[in-house]
């Protein structure tokens, strides 16, 4: 009923290939965008910004980067956190070397460094596949984190080996560092994430996306129909690492405010991989759904007992939280192994034909 598509006729190819062939999709997305751009910022408290909104966006962006590589191009990577680190450290060096640089420019530029490193570590993908490639990217993970620890120039010879985000001004407002307000940072993150998402959607449904999908589904067949595997795989690594690098810069500059090398450890890589897998490999929407489940849900669960006035100790809540989130992950993967995005797609299908399921 809500999703009735009858009466929406497509008379041109252009209309048929539009981003939203079904009008309700556009309305739904518009509603979500209004929520994100206007309603949340007006209602949210400092805590909501810092613990829910900003992290969900940043993690979703990082997962989106990984999804391009793993979900669309079929190259398994375990080095996401390290590429995020490259973005973060590059942004830090750019901002400290050129203090007058616009932060948005610095963030977008830092992705370039990460893309370069990504391509370098993507070279083995030309010879090895699957789990073996995962091990090769694992090398990136350990090597890069080790570099962040040992190369003191990267953190400006700080005694604690950590990077601290300085106060950065843009057009008269503080946008990074302790003086920046959460609302400003949220809008900046939201703007970058929105633009990146639009780019990703269009990239993945165009020629480039089809090239990647062909590479993923069967690389020999792809090669036979004239796809250059070298180009396809390396562009996937470059685009993916670029997005992941930007996510890393946002992660530190717009959210955390400081970072030590251990932040970019393997556990962060796994976390992002889980977001991509549970959200749904080969989908853009899935990254957001996955980030909400993995990042936001534990935070909400943590505050629930307090809100409901139940007196249990914080440590017990933490234990319960791990159990509940774990159980939910298992539950969702059993009812839909292809992730939350597929679950939503099924729900949408059902809604379209509802109430007459035949």
């Amino acid at each position: 009923m809500l999703y009735r598509t009858s009466g929406q006729f497509k008379t041109t190819y252009k209309a048929d290939q539009a981003l939203f062939p079904v009008r309700q999709d556009a309305i739904l997305l518009g509603f979500i965008l209004i929520l994100a751009w206007a309603v949340f910022p007006l209602m949210a408290s400092e805590f909501t910004f810092q613990a829910l909104l900003i992290p969900v966006l940043v993690y979703a962006l990082a997962a989106m980067g990984l999804n391009i590589l793993t979900g669309y191009a079929g190259q398994l990577s375990l080095g996401t956190a390290a590429f995020m680190g490259v973005g973060a450290y590059a942004c830090y060096k750019l901002i400290t070397i050129f203090p007058g640089m616009n932060i948005v420019v610095a963030i977008l530029l830092s992705g370039v460094f990460s893309a370069g490193v990504g391509v370098l570590f993507g070279l083995p993908s030309l010879r090895i596949k699957g789990f073996y490639l995962a091990i090769a990217t694992l090398a990136a993970q350990f090597f890069l984190v080790w570099t962040f620890e040992e190369w003191a120039w990267l953190y400006n010879y700080n005694a604690s080996g950590a990077i601290q985000v300085p106060n950065v001004e843009m057009f008269g407002t503080m946008v990074a560092g302790p003086l920046a307000t959460s609302t400003t940072q949220y809008y900046l993150v939201l703007a970058i994430v929105t633009v990146m998402t639009i780019v990703c959607i269009n990239l993945t449904r165009g020629t480039q996306g089809r090239t990647w999908k062909a590479t993923r589904d069967m690389d020999i067949a792809a090669e036979l129909i004239g796809i250059n595997l070298l180009k396809s795989k390396l562009t996937a690594f470059a685009v993916s690492s670029y997005i992941v690098g930007v996510a890393g810069a946002l992660f530190v500059f717009m959210w955390r405010g400081a970072a030590e090398p251990n932040l970019f450890s393997i556990s962060l890589s796994f976390r992002i991989l889980f977001i991509a897998i549970i959200g749904g490999l080969g989908s853009i929407l899935g990254n957001y759904l996955g980030a909400i489940l993995i990042v936001a849900l534990p935070v909400v669960l943590n505050t629930l007992p307090h809100t409901l006035g139940i007196e249990i100790s914080s440590a017990t809540v933490e234990h319960l939280n791990i159990m509940i989130v774990g159980a939910l992950i298992v539950f969702f993967l059993i009812i839909e192994p292809h992730g939350l995005a597929r679950l939503w797609a099924l729900i949408r299908e059902k809604l379209i034909i509802w109430p007459f399921p035949h």
Partner: protein, 432 residues
């Protein structure tokens, strides 16, 4: 489908109310949150300290009805020692809190700039960023009664017999956790090594190899250092001690910082670890009156059998006592029962812990007298060397004091550097 819609609606409502309700106050009491870690790889060392902290406030509430007539609402937010959770907890608790206790040097570094903007006192007793001693630069941060550089200096004094030039030509290894915390003493030791002519060699232990340090100890065996100083935490301490015993490193040349002197770690090793020493700003005193008071008034203590005699449990008591003293000072100055974060900042800056006051509070022999001021946020109480005798820690030295003439220039330089890197950074002027 209906159930799905219902669930989504319920989740949305929960999401909306969670943040709103969380910000509400808790009545007339003072909210003292603690970013605890009773889970994760550092839980073993965290639990006794958190128990001590909780029990002291529980005792004050039961015996005296709080502090100066206001009840203390001690609340924990679990971080698992994760920096990410730490920042989340800081944001979640700051609304009606009068202080933040971040634990973990990593969380301290993240929260430190935020506290300056939020005007929230940050209490990091014996941890955090050593330059926080400079009260002119770090208005809102306190790391009394001693910084890591104090600890580093006291260790050198004890092993050199008070004369650092006697260390000339010797080799000292710093076995440290490869984390902001473990890297804290390095600048101080490097400066001292250059000045007094001893060889200084830091050996890092990564977070992932805490329990398997064979590579590090192989290197120590090859280097044959005169002393091994340890900046370890959590599972790393037990790992290092086990390896030291295995490689037969002489225990009397092995010294830890105050976070590496945990009874729980050493009890498992017993006699084998006898002779191991650690510096500590609190001395274990099983007969202190405050322990009797806790046994009498706190019925639901989480502390296990014998835990109250542990150095770490008693350190938790000391930490809560320092905070309570800050609250008392603020209450007297502003003539109010419920103090605000700004008033507490004044209180923490004007702690005057004399020997009489220590005795009055029941902490006899557990901590040395010290006082803080506008310019000095550490107080530098000094500490004692404690030695593991196979079953318990015993005080093994006279009261030691850090050499402030060596530390002060480093603090000043590091604080200025921090302020510059984080400009515009608000500072305060202190007279005198």
């Amino acid at each position: 489908m209906k159930t799905f819609a219902k669930w989504t609606a319920a989740a949305a409502v929960a999401l909306g109310t969670a943040s709103a309700v969380y910000a509400e106050g808790h009545g007339a009491s003072m909210n003292v949150p603690n970013l605890s870690y009773r889970t994760g790889p550092f839980a073993a060392t965290g639990i006794p300290i958190m128990n001590g902290q909780a029990d002291y406030f529980a005792m004050l509430n039961a015996r005296d009805g709080g502090i100066g007539g206001a009840m203390i609402d001690y609340e924990e937010c679990e971080t698992g020692y994760s920096t990410e959770k730490g920042v989340e907890c800081y944001e979640a608790t700051k609304a009606d809190a009068i202080v933040t206790q971040p634990w973990s040097t990593g969380i301290t570094l993240q929260v430190l700039p935020k506290t300056n903007v939020d005007e929230m006192p940050l209490l990091a007793p014996g941890y955090g960023f050593s330059p926080m001693a400079d009260g002119e630069v770090f208005q809102w941060a306190f790391n009394m009664p001693g910084s890591y550089w104090d600890a580093a200096s006291m260790i050198l004094q004890e092993i050199s017999g008070g004369d650092l030039s006697s260390l000339s030509g010797q080799k000292i290894v710093l076995l440290h956790l490869d984390h902001p915390y473990g890297k804290e003493p390095i600048p101080f030791y490097e400066a001292m090594a250059a000045e007094h002519g001893f060889e200084f060699l830091p050996i890092p232990v990564g977070l992932s190899e805490m329990q398997n340090q064979s590579a590090q100890w192989l290197q120590i065996r090859r280097e044959r250092p005169d002393y091994v100083i340890m900046w370890g935490w959590g599972a790393m301490n037990a790992g290092a001690l086990t390896e030291a015993i295995k490689t037969r490193y002489p225990m009397d040349q092995f010294i830890g910082v105050w976070w590496s002197g945990h009874n729980g770690d050493l009890e498992a090793l017993g006699e084998d670890a006898a002779g191991y020493r650690a510096i500590s700003y609190n001395a274990p005193n099983p007969d202190a009156p405050v322990l009797a008071a806790i046994r009498e008034h706190v019925s639901d203590s989480q502390a296990g059998e014998g835990e109250m005699d542990w150095v770490f449990y008693q350190r938790g008591l000391v930490i809560s006592m320092l905070l309570a003293e800050g609250i008392t000072a603020a209450q007297a100055e502003y003539d109010t029962a419920v103090v605000s974060p700004q008033q507490l900042r004044w209180g923490l800056e004007n702690i005057n812990l004399t020997q009489e006051r220590i005795d009055e509070l029941g902490f006899t022999g557990m901590i040395a007298p010290f006082s803080t001021s506008c310019a000095d946020h550490t107080g530098h109480s000094g500490g004692w060397m404690i030695r593991w005798d196979g079953s318990t820690f015993q005080v093994d030295s006279d009261h030691l004091m850090a050499d402030q003439s060596a530390i002060a220039p480093l603090v000043e330089a590091a604080a200025a550097e921090y302020a510059e890197a984080n400009a515009p950074w608000p500072t305060q002027e202190c007279d005198g």
